[in-house]
Each structure stands twice: as structure tokens, then as C-alpha cells.
């Protein structure tokens, strides 16, 4: 039963992703993307990674997607953007990307080990993750914090100019 749930979530994640990436309307696409992320969170949970599942929902589906929503709302894309997107989704535009993506997928398939092995089934608790994180991975944490700081500064810089001096050209 739980396995069925797993495969169901997998199918949902995949189909939601595909739908998200084929929508012309950004808001619609975003909803599908959130759906996909939630489905992935379910997968995490089922694989015994509850902490990851929670963060997936909180940060990915929550914070990041909300950011998208804000931006889409600020930009007010409108009908014309939609038309443009729709025209970009012609069948002939699919050919090369399609081939490329398929090739990549085939290669990744080769990369997947053929020896059938199951996941362990043991859950890894947030505590263990925390211990590991501030133990051997503490340097990575510092790097990540640095990266986030850089992202913060960059976003502030870019956004500030947009907000404060939107009247002037550049």
C-alpha cells in the first residue's frame, strides 16, 4: 500500500513537472511546479528522510515558489507574453531539445547501476542530520552560509536599483 503511494507520488511528480514546463501562463505553471515539489516531498518522506521532506515543503514549495509568485505578480506578464510563449511551443521547436533531453536520459539510464538494491528502509532523523551537519560537514555549512549571504547581497543590490531608481534609466 505504501509502495503504491510511492509510485503514485512519483507519477504525480513527473506529470506535474511536465505540465508545469509546458504551460504558457506562468502562474499556472507555478501551481503545477508546487504540486510536483510536494509530490517529491512525499517521496522523501517515504524514503525515510522526514527532515528533507519538511524542508522541501517549507523552503522549496514555500519560500522559493512564493518568491516566484511575487515576481510574477510584480511583472504583470499579461496576455502578450502568454501568446509569445504559446508560439514558442511549436512542434518543430521541440525537435532538438527533445532529442537532446532523450539522449541525456538514455545516458543517465546507463549510469544507473543495474544491480538491484533496495533502499535501507531506516529513517534518518533530523537529529542525525544535524549532528552530521555540524560535525564533518561544518565547512560546507559555512560555505553555504557564505553563498546565501552572497545571494542576499546580490538580490538586494539588483532589487534595490529596481525599486529605488526605477524612474531613471539605468
Amino acid at each position: 500500500m505504501m509502495e503504491t503511494l510511492f509510485y503514485l507520488a512519483a507519477v504525480i511528480a513527473l506529470s506535474a513537472t511536465i505540465l508545469a514546463l509546458t504551460r504558457a501562463n506562468a502562474a499556472h505553471a507555478l501551481i503545477y511546479l508546487i504540486l510536483s515539489l510536494l509530490a517529491v516531498a512525499v517521496l522523501f518522506f517515504l524514503m525515510g528522510a522526514p527532515f528533507a521532506a519538511a524542508l522541501e515543503i517549507l523552503i522549496y514549495a514555500g519560500a522559493i515558489m512564493v518568491l516566484f509568485v511575487f515576481v510574477i505578480m510584480m511583472l504583470n506578464l499579461g496576455k502578450s507574453g502568454e501568446e509569445l510563449e504559446r508560439s514558442g511551443l511549436h512542434a518543430r521547436n521541440w525537435i532538438i531539445p527533445g532529442i537532446m533531453a532523450t539522449l541525456l536520459f538514455v545516458e543517465l539510464m546507463y549510469a544507473v547501476e543495474q544491480t538491484s538494491s533496495l533502499t535501507s528502509g531506516t529513517a534518518v532523523s533530523p537529529k542525525e542530520v544535524g549532528l552530521e551537519l555540524f560535525g564533518p560537514y561544518v565547512l560546507a555549512v559555512e560555505l553555504a552560509s557564505m553563498l546565501l549571504l552572497a545571494g542576499l547581497v546580490g538580490a538586494y543590490h539588483l532589487g534595490r536599483r529596481f525599486i529605488v531608481r526605477s524612474g531613471s534609466d539605468d
Partner: protein, 610 residues
Amino acid sequence: MNTLSLIPALPLFSAILLMVSAGRLPKQISAILGVGSVGLSALCVAMVAMGFMADGQVREITLWTWIAIEDFTPAIAFYVDGLTIVMMSVITGVGFLIHLYSVEFMASDESFSRYFAYMNLFVAAMLLLVMADNLLLLYMGWEGVGVCSYLLVGFWYRDPDNGQAARKAFVVTRVGDTAMALGLFLLFTELGTLDIQPLMAAANSQWQVGGTLPVLATALLLGGALGKSAQLPLHTWLPDAMAGPTPVSALIHAATMVTAGVYLIARTHELFLLAPATLEAVAWLGLATLLLAAFAALAQNDIKRILAYSTISQIGYMFLALGVGAFSAGIFHLMTHAFFKALLFLAAGAVIHCLHHEHNIFRMGGLRTRLPVVFASFLIGSAALAALPFTSGFYSKDSILLAAWSLPDIGPTLWAGGLLGALLTAIYSFRLVFVVFFGEANTEPDKQAGWKMAVPLIILCVLAAAGGWISQPLDDVFPAQGHDVVHVIEYIGIAVPLIGLLLAYLLFLGKQLSLSSLTESSMGKALQDFWLKGWRIDDLYHNLLVRPFTGFARLCRNEPVDLFYNSIAGALRWSHRSLSSIQTGELRWYATSMVFGLIVLVAIMLRNAS
């Protein structure tokens, strides 16, 4: 300072002084410097010559070592023997007269001092040429006179034609000079010295008569001589060189420089004696040149061009003499020719001077009474040129023909050719006299020759008439040559010029004989035109050498080698363009290429893993 070194130094210093002063000196002082230095030089020559006559000693002096590298040690050194004395006397003596004459001739020219600077420089270079004790120094004089000739032919630089003539003179002779330089290289490489006397000794001891090396070396030297002496095939520059002032033509292109080739061969005659093949070639070339130039002289209208062709022709005689081994006869003719040809040129110059620069003989005429001194000079000069009996030219030409006759095998042919030349010489020289001085006057002279012109003319008249009795101190220089005097030959030699004179009289003055039927025919006209243009050898060279050269130069003008480098640059630019064209700026395109790269990388990794 030694008298010997003063001889070339005086004109040289005068030339430098005149050049540095750059025309700031008054004309009189320039004239005194220019004429005086050559005159003093002539006096020095006279002193040296008298000393030489007294003791017969060869005089040598080394001023300083020019270059000393291992065995190569040419010095600035002079060597004066009988041959040099003859040459020096001609150069300074005739040179002095011509300088004096120039003072009047050039009196109104704005570049008066420049003229005398060049002339003095020329005299210095020419003296260097004949006095040099080694071939390198001789070569320096050789090139020096070439440059002075260039400068003086192109003296009136405003007319591009004069410049053209000057350049032609220099470049054509340079071709010969280059051959001569190669000859020097060969001589030094093989014999290890360029000092003339040791060189001759070494050649005599190391080379065999008729060997390859002597023939080659003398042929190369001959190249230089042909260029300088305007002999076939390098003679084309001389008629054009008449663009210069007339005294220049008299000094450089009649009396001295053009005979440098004769001097060279005479100076190195021991080498030439080792190479009979070259010597024979000298004779044949001389003969061909003398006939060719004589025919061309017949058809000219320009008074100076007639004289130019006659110069070429007379030098042909000298070459003929050298070729048949009659070196002293050749030098003798050189001297007498210097007298009478200088005389003719100066007289022609006087005519031109008095007729406001008229050159065409058919626009002259009847000048006999109006310019009596000039007429007398011209008459005597022409008589000597035509070798009428008892003139100087008669003695020299006669000895040449005699020497040619006495040569076995080819002798009679050479003699006959020379005789034909003598006939033609008589015809064209008296054609000149008759047309210019007799008949009706076409142009009135506007002035008379002054004393500075007249005195040189008179002195030269005496020399041209009586120069045949001067004996040259050449016995120690050249091998003795005795020939049996064949009286018949002598009589023929006397008769032929007279026949020529008669023919000229009948054709051009008395009009008893008429060539009109001949000259009117298309054939005759073509021939006349052909000769007028000097056998069209100029055209031949123009088409054969000049045009390909200029064509090639024009073709290469924009640097064909750059095509190669530009093609490299072009290839780089092309690849730059094609590479930058894939930088479309489209983000999706970049993403796609990244995917492609990823695919390839993953494929490589998979391949390595498996």
C-alpha cells in the same frame, strides 16, 4: 707634400671648397679656383713628366693603407709610369683648356660654382683612376667619374629629360661596373692581391695562356670597359649623355672618361695577353662598334649626337687596336682623339653658344665667315677625325690599321672593316663641316666667342694638327711590336679618307651626286630612320630589359609577400568571425550547447567506467 699626391688633391680640394661654399663665392673666385686648381695640377703633371723623361723611373707613393684585413691590403697609393703620364697629361692638359673654355661658356649660368665643383671633382676622380696603384682604388676613381658624369649630364636638373639621360648614363655603365667588380673578386680570390703590378706578375706566373680563369677574369674586366667606353652592347648611354653642357661632353664624353675602358685594358694588358680569346673579342667588338656608330653618325641631325656617335666609333678604333695587341697605337689614338674630339666638341659648343642653343645642323649653315675661328677649329678637328694625311688622327689611325693588317688570319678582315670605318668617318665629319659652315646661313649668330673660348680652341687646333709627332713614353709599358711596313696598305690608308672627303663634297656641298633617289625610297627612309635611332638598340633594350623591370616593379609594388601574411591574418579573422557567430546571445542556445557538452562528457565518463 709630394708633387704626385698634389695632382689629384688640388682639384679635389677645390671641389670640396666650392661645394662647401655652396655658391656663396663670387663667380670670379669660383672660376679662379676651378680653373686654377686644374692648371696647377697640370703644372705638377708637367713637372712629374719632365722628371720621368729625364730618368725613366716609375714613381710610386703610398699615402695610407686603406683597408687591411689579412691579405687584403689595398692602399691609397699611386703608381705613375709612362702610360699614367700620358693619361695624366691628357686629363690635366685638355682638362685645363676645357675648364678655361667653360668660364665663358657657363658665365651666365646661375649654378656656376656647382658646375666647377663637379668638374673639379671629375678631374680628381679621373686622376685617381689613372694613377691608382691597385684595382680597388682604380675602381673608386672609376665610379667617381661615373658619378660626376651623372651629375654633369643632369646638370640642368629642371628638365626631366636631362635627368633621364644622366640616370641612363650612370645605370648602363653601372652594369659594366658590376661585371668589373666581379672581375676584381675573381682576381683577388684567385691571385690574392689587387695591386696591379704584383697582380700581373702573379697572373703571369700562375695562369697559362688561354686558360679558363684569365679568359673569365678579362671578360669581366672587359664588361666594365665596355660600359665606361660606350662600346657595344653598352654604348647606348653616350648619345643621350649629350644633354649636359657642351664642355662636359668635351671633357668627359670625348677626351677622358669614355677612354677609361681603353686605359683599363691597356693597364691590365698582361692579363689580356693571357686570354687571347678575350682579346679577339675586344677586337671584334671594337670593329662592330666603330662601324655601327659610324653608320649611325651619318644619319644624325643633332651636332652633338653626330660627335657622340663619332666618339663611340673612334673608341671602337682604340678597342680594335687593343684587340690586335697594338696597345701603344691604341693609347696614341686615345691621345690624339682627346685632342681633336675635344676640339670638335668645344667648337661645336661655340657654335651652339653663338646660335642660342641651336643643335640641329640643318638650321645652321654658312657660318664659315661669321665664326672664322670656330670654322678653322672645326675644319682642323674634322680633318684629324677623318685622318686626312699629316693630321694627328692620321698617324694614330694609320698605325692601328697597320697593326690590324699584320695580324694573321683575322687581320685582313679587321683591316678592311677599319678601312670602311675610315671612309664613313671622313664622310660624316665633312658632312658636318659642309652643312654647318658652308651653304646658306639659316641662323644668325648673336655673339662671338671671346678669348677664353678662343685660346683653348687655338691650342687644341695646334695639338690636333701636330699631335701626331708627340712621342709617348710607352716603350717600357707595353711589349714591343714590330710590323713590316707594307706600302700598299699605307697608300690605301691615305687614299680612303680622301675618297671620303670627296664623296662628302660631292654629296653635301657640290650636290653633283644626289642621294635623293635613295633617301626618298621607302627603304632608304627606313634605313635612315633606323640609323637615326642608333640601330634601334635603345628600343630593343627598352622592350627587353626596361619594360620587364618596370613591369615587375609595378607588379610587386604593393608587396606580394604580404599576400601570404595577410592570408594568415585573413584566416584568423575568418575563424574569429565564425566562432563569434555562434555567440548568438540567446540563452537557450547556450543552454542547448551546455546540454550537448554534458551529453558528451557523460558519454566519455560512461565509456571510461565500463
